[in-house]
Amino acid sequence: MNGHRRRHIRRAELAAAGAFLLAALGAVGFAVGYAFGAQTQLEGVALAVACAGSAAGLGIGARRLGPAGGHVEEHGGFASPELAAEALADRVTEPGRGWRRGVLVRLLGLAVGSIGLALLFPLRSLIAPRLPGPTHTLRHTPWRSGGLRLVDTTGRPVRADEVTGNDIVVVYPEGHVGAGDAPAFVVRLDPSRFSARPPAAGVGGIVAYSLLCTHAGCAVGLYEQGTGQMFCPCHQSVFDLLAGARPVAGPASRPLPGLPITVDSSGFLRATGDFSSPPGPGYWSRP
């Protein structure tokens, strides 16, 4: 072994030793940091140093062994010789040969297949068996019971005279705050600007619509007063409240369903029934 190579190896060994020591230090640093509740950044760096030190030490160790490569392994081929493959196929199909055994194998297939199909039935349990199925559930919302007051997101009933034209008020049916299919909004508009009638009865200029985008169900949260338009932040659909909440831009195809409302004798807004059509995204059996 010549002196040059020996010195080279010596240096590599020193470097690897340093790296492993650094790794151990990093680990100790993490443990100490954890014990004293150090910041996430410090803990992360300490662990990273521990791992990076190990990586460096191992990498240098691999280099010390000399250059990579230099070996060759023969490849025995991918397939068996033709006869051997035939023999295997023969052996595997042996039990099924002959008329009766062929029938038996098929009947076994029938039995196993039937068991598999039968086991699919309990999947129905995953769809809340005592509750109505999707066709019914997707169509109706808590508003259906009629006469429910409109409450804001904290559960406080909304009075007709609180609704302004400046911004929308997000509402739920009383007793159902947070219900996924029920969120709606009310806003006051100037009826003389309507180019199409709202789909559901309003109160003076107050209109109520489902808040759920008819594209993919996001909350259509942004109201622009000047144009009377609602924007969906998810895929930028735009609904024109002056034209019956018709979609005027973006990927939504259907208008927002309207909510029929009245004012009760104490001045609170009440819904007289369910949305004019099922709220939210479309589905196969949607009317």
Partner: protein, 561 residues
């Protein structure tokens, strides 16, 4: 000494020597593109490690409870247990935030590495016969990885991921005939259902990881059985594998890579905030964040949803909502195309032989063109998922950006794919070793596809040398003159008990290359002991073993000196 004794102890019970020695001699090709698969593997390990920690603290339930943790803005608020426990993991469990963020980053690295790995398999034709099975296993792992990324991201019940979940629900709902039932089956009822988070949790921490672990095992078993493919180079052919041996050089390097992946994971997790759910707030069906972008690996679906126009229609009075096309059809076509590619290509090219040597991307211009077009298409979709951000930055209306992205999504892949196709033809036709050295003549030749004939100076004057070491075992090497100062030398990965077996292996690896005697490498020479060679039977074996031990000792002592 301890290791030696352990080896003996195990061998005396399991007869390990032969199989383990063969496994340790397994040859791995040395090329940096072969590391992507390993990075995927090691980030999966990192995910399992960090995820186990998280699973011990996360509460998979949307039942409401009052938050009492140390994050002040949420103090006293009634929020779901899933969301509350995620915020507590971030602020009240020591090192919890580090592990949470490391887990999220590891997921991004995992999927990124899988995609790079897929790209290398694709562009080099490694999926061709006989490796189609591993391609199918791989595509399945990619779908599972995406699924696990999405479920993990959606579990904390925060506003951002809840919005994504709402969209995913709507996409499932849009499937004709079955949509509603399928959505109820998967999510447990009308959105947002109480069952959704517990189901996602079980899938995320058990079902999908277990399936992934099983498939990774299968992937590796098939890989070992078929051996690695390799790029063409001197000394490499369809009958061999050239590279480093598993033990020790490859083992050290791959362990170094493992440690490096962990280092990157923890550095990212410690230093770079990711998914700060406490800022987004809890999910609320009446609120949505703006701008809202999902993690990049689902962003192509999000971009497609933004670009696809409003196109609801009805069949016999039944509704087919427009998210069906970008949401379901595009995804299904994507994975169908991935699954089918090896078989489509074989059908089109009529190529059905087994391959051990890889293509260079240029060798197959059509495949390169299709791959580049696909990459561009999905990149444009990912970009489109941030169109609202671009619109704000550029101060242009979103609608005009949508149109720009629509044109890009159709035009860029076409243009890029064509360009890649013609450049590959030029590279293949001409003699330029690299893209940067392409000449105008190469471009012309590429357009007409008349290829410069290869050097064609016949087979190189290569030879095989076989020798005996310590008078005991036999090895061989492949020697090929390179024209330079040093010949190319490749040594057999393992030793053989007889000269005949060594020669047989050499002939299998290099059919037709002449075999002759050679000298052992310096340091391993030993004057053959003719007496022992003439002796037969057990006595000779004992004698040889003793001689070998003595020599080994001597060599080790001289090395350590």
């Amino acid at each position: 000494m301890i290791v030696r004794r352990l080896v003996r102890l195990l061998d005396s019970r399991l007869r390990l020597s032969a199989p383990v020695r063969r496994a340790m001699a397994k040859v791995f090709p040395d090329h940096w593109t072969f590391m992507f698969g390993e990075i995927a593997l090691y980030s999966f390990v990192a995910l399992v490690l960090t995820g186990t920690f998280l699973a011990l603290f996360f509460e998979p339930s949307t039942t409401d409870r009052v938050y009492h943790g140390s994050y002040q803005p949420l103090h006293g608020k009634t929020i779901s247990a899933a969301y509350a426990s995620t915020v507590e993991l971030s602020f009240d469990v020591r090192a919890g935030l580090l592990v949470r963020q490391a887990h999220h980053w590891a997921a991004l690295v995992f999927i990124g590495a899988i995609l790079l790995h897929l790209a290398r398999i694709f562009f080099t034709g490694a999926f061709r016969k006989p490796r189609e099975i591993n391609w199918l296993v791989g595509v399945t792992m990619l779908t599972l990885a995406l699924l696990n990324g999405f479920t993990g991201y959606s579990m904390p019940d925060d506003l951002l991921s809840g919005t994504g979940l709402r969209i995913a629900y709507s996409v499932v709902e849009s499937i004709p005939l079955l949509g509603g039932w399928l959505a109820f089956l998967l999510f447990g009822g009308e959105f947002p259902a109480d069952q959704t988070v517990p189901r996602m949790f079980f899938a995320h921490v058990f079902l999908v990881p277990a399936a992934l672990a099983g498939l990774i095992t299968l992937h590796m078993l098939i890989l070992v059985r078929q051996k690695h493919s390799q790029f063409p180079a001197p000394g490499r052919n369809e009958h061999n594998v050239v590279g480093s041996r598993l033990w020790p050089s490859y083992t050290l390097r791959t362990l170094a890579l493992f440690a490096a992946v962990l280092a990157v994971t923890f550095a990212l997790g410690g230093l770079f905030q990711i998914n700060p759910v406490w800022i987004y707030g809890p999910y609320d069906p009446a609120r949505a964040t703006s701008p809202a972008q999902p993690d990049w690996y689902v962003a192509w679906e999000e971009g497609a949803l933004r670009l696809f126009p409003a196109a609801d229609f009805r069949i016999f009075g039944y509704l087919v909502p427009s998210p069906f096309f970008p949401g379901v059809v595009l995804g299904a076509l994507t994975f169908l195309a991935l699954y089918a590619w090896p078989f489509l290509e074989a059908r089109v090219t009529g190529e059905r032989t087994a391959h051990q040597l890889l293509d260079r991307p240029r060798d197959h211009p059509a495949r390169l063109g299709v791959g580049v077009a696909a990459l561009l298409f999905y990149s444009v979709l990912v970009g489109a998922a941030a169109d609202d951000v671009f619109a704000r930055l550029l101060r242009v209306p979103v609608t005009s950006l949508v149109w720009t992205f629509r044109f890009l999504a159709l035009g860029l892949p076409l243009a890029g794919g064509m360009l890649a196709y013609y450049l590959a033809r030029a590279l293949r036709a001409g003699s330029a070793p690299e893209f940067a050295e392409l000449t105008r003549a190469d471009l012309h030749r590429g357009a007409k596809d008349d290829r410069v004939p290869g050097d064609g100076d016949g087979p190189p004057a290569a030879r095989i040398e076989v020798w005996q070491e310590f008078g005991l075992v036999w090895r061989w090497r492949y020697v090929e003159p390179t024209g330079g100062a040093k010949d190319l030398e490749l040594t057999s990965n393992i030793d053989y008990p007889s000269e005949q077996e060594a020669a047989k292996a050499a002939r299998a690896a290099y059919p037709g290359v002449p075999i002759g005697p050679g000298r052992p490498p310096p340091g391993l020479e030993l004057p053959a002991a003719p007496a022992t060679r003439r002796l037969g039977g057990p006595l000779a074996r004992v004698f040889r073993l003793a001689a070998w031990l003595v020599v080994l000792r001597a060599v080790r002592r001289s090395r350590s000196r």
